[in-house]
């Protein structure tokens, strides 16, 4: 096939509209008739010229079609995505998506991931694999996911993540944090096109690579994509996006809007100031329209709550004999902080009180325990579960969009020290 045809293929893929599947298939068949050298020149120049999400989508589908037909070409592409390979960062994402894998570079420094405890078994998958499905990624299955991660960590540095059926954003935030913390390479393999599309929309592939991405995707899918938490965090951007999503479903009052801002602001500040991690943590949010609920998860690979207290400034809290659950419960109380000169100790208390009063559910996981809190018939319930260790902290919450987030009530529940009144500092 003459070189001019390669140029025609390249220009078609670069069209600013989505090509139909039949056209993609035809172009792939034509491309496979080119000489290997011409074909590679075509592909890599197209990758270098990535312009838009439509362009990326066309190219991804084109490469998928080619690699399904020619495994030798798949190997060439896989080689190009390795560190030092021919693909630039943006192109690596496209190629990895096409191959159904994501190749991440080893992190220069990694946080320690604990070995599985005696008695841990591989709950899922086979050697070197982590299987994610609804039963391991939902808000209610965090202990199961921690066990699976612990077991997978024991199998070696290179992990294949098989993703079956639909998955919850909550679990994906934890897995992305875990992958970035442990280094090594991770190959994500969704088992169907629907799951693959969701992983792309929620930003899972970029998150596995630890790269920043836009908070909102191209489509209105009512989510905040997996977003890296940074010191000057995009708190306001994330808050604005969540409020934008909420406006689609409900009409939050001024107080509700303030509550969301404060919840997110405090929790992200907590991660920035307490975690002390060298690799990123993630925040993700997803609305579940049928249930009228919003789920938010914030995961960090830092020191965890117990260690924060043990290394802190307050002698009465430095008790190694206490369990992670004891320290989580302590952190949920008002005005309890590990570093009195730097922190104030309101974040997790405000989370717990707001969510309880909203009729939602929250959970805080750190070390070997998860504490889940909710309210039943006016009574506060806290349930504790033991599980394989998570080195940092994970906070998740399910918020009912039908109920208020009564910030004023929560603020007014904060106790003033004896001898003070609200008038002391106000005329």
């Amino acid at each position: 096939m003459p070189h001019g045809d390669a140029e025609a293929i390249r220009s078609l893929i670069a069209e600013p509209y989505e090509l139909d599947p039949a056209s993609i298939e035809t172009l792939a068949v034509f491309a496979l008739q080119l000489t290997a050298k011409t074909r590679e020149r075509l592909i890599f120049s197209a990758l270098d010229e990535l312009r838009s999400s439509t362009n990326r989508l066309n190219l991804t589908r084109f490469l998928q079609s080619m690699t399904e037909r020619d495994h030798g070409f798949a190997r060439t592409l896989r080689h190009a995505t390795k560190p030092g390979g021919r693909c630039a960062a943006a192109a690596r994402v496209v190629v990895s998506n096409a191959l159904g894998t994501v190749v991440t570079s080893p992190a220069p420094q990694t946080s320690p991931i604990p070995e599985p405890r005696h008695g841990d078994r591989l709950p899922l998958g086979t050697e070197g694999e982590l299987l994610l499905d609804p039963s391991t990624t939902s808000f209610y299955a965090l202990p199961k996911l921690f066990h699976a991660l612990s077991a997978a960590a024991h199998q070696g540095r290179d992990i294949t993540i098989r993703i079956r059926d639909f998955v919850y954003a909550s679990g994906l935030a934890i897995v992305a944090t875990w992958v970035n913390a442990r280094g090594g390479s991770s190959n994500a393999r969704p088992e169907d096109g629907y799951t693959s599309a969701y992983l792309k929309r929620i930003g899972f592939y970029e998150a596995l690579e630890g790269t920043d991405q836009p908070i909102a995707g191209d489509r209105e899918d009512w989510s905040v994509r997996l977003t890296i938490i940074r010191p000057d965090a995009r708190v306001q951007d994330v808050t604005a996006r969540i409020l934008e999503i909420l406006d689609t479903f409900v009409h939050p009052s001024e107080e509700d809007r303030a509550s969301f801002g404060i919840l997110l602001g405090e929790l992200i500040e907590n991660v920035n100031r307490h975690a002390g991690a060298r690799t990123p943590g993630f925040i993700v949010a997803q609305v579940y329209p049928k249930q009228y609920k919003l789920g938010i998860t914030i995961a960090d690979p830092g020191m965890g709550i117990k260690r924060s207290f043990i290394d802190g400034e307050v002698t009465e809290y430095k008790d190694w004999r206490k369990s992670d659950a004891d320290f989580i419960s302590l952190a949920l109380k008002p005005l309890v902080t590990s570093k009195r000169s730097q922190h104030s100790g309101y974040g997790l208390y405000i989370l717990a009180e707001l969510i309880r009063r909203n009729g939602g559910t929250f959970s805080v996981s750190s070390g070997t325990h998860t504490v889940v809190g909710y309210r039943v018939r006016g009574h506060t319930v806290e349930k504790t579960t033991e599980h394989a260790a998570w080195p940092g902290t994970v906070v998740t919450m399910i918020i009912s969009l039908q109920n208020k987030l009564p910030l004023g009530e929560v603020y007014n529940s904060l106790p003033l020290p004896a001898g003070y009144t609200d008038e002391d500092f106000f005329e």
Partner: protein
């Protein structure tokens, strides 16, 4: 607007932003006896922001010093309580931890 009338607006969220605002107030107080902080234009203020800004100012100047130097206006009932809680707790901590913390924090 007078040099000593401050009107923060919008979302007061992060400690980093609070620290900058606190430094601004401290600079103003070097050439004025007091500042007026009008809170009627804010959409929300987090406990972290209130603590980092006003809590530490309370720790620096003490209860009476703070009352003389910072005059609040336009705070809602909830915001008033929040600021009172963070200030009172900072002042209580200061009593037990000594004055050096505040200096270091600034």
């Amino acid at each position: 607007m007078s040099d000593t009338l401050l009107q923060p607006k919008g979302l007061l969220i992060t400690r980093q932003a609070a620290k900058q605002y606190r430094n601004h107030i401290v600079n103003l107080l070097e050439r004025a006896p007091f500042v007026i902080v009008d809170l009627s234009g804010i959409e929300l203020i987090t406990p972290s922001y209130a603590d980092e800004c006003f809590g530490i100012l309370g720790q620096m100047y003490g209860k009476e010093g703070f009352r003389q130097r910072i005059k609040f206006r336009g705070a809602s009932k909830d915001v008033k309580h929040l600021i009172s809680v963070v200030l009172a707790n900072r002042l209580e901590r200061n009593t037990s931890a000594g004055p050096s913390e505040a200096t270091e924090a600034v």
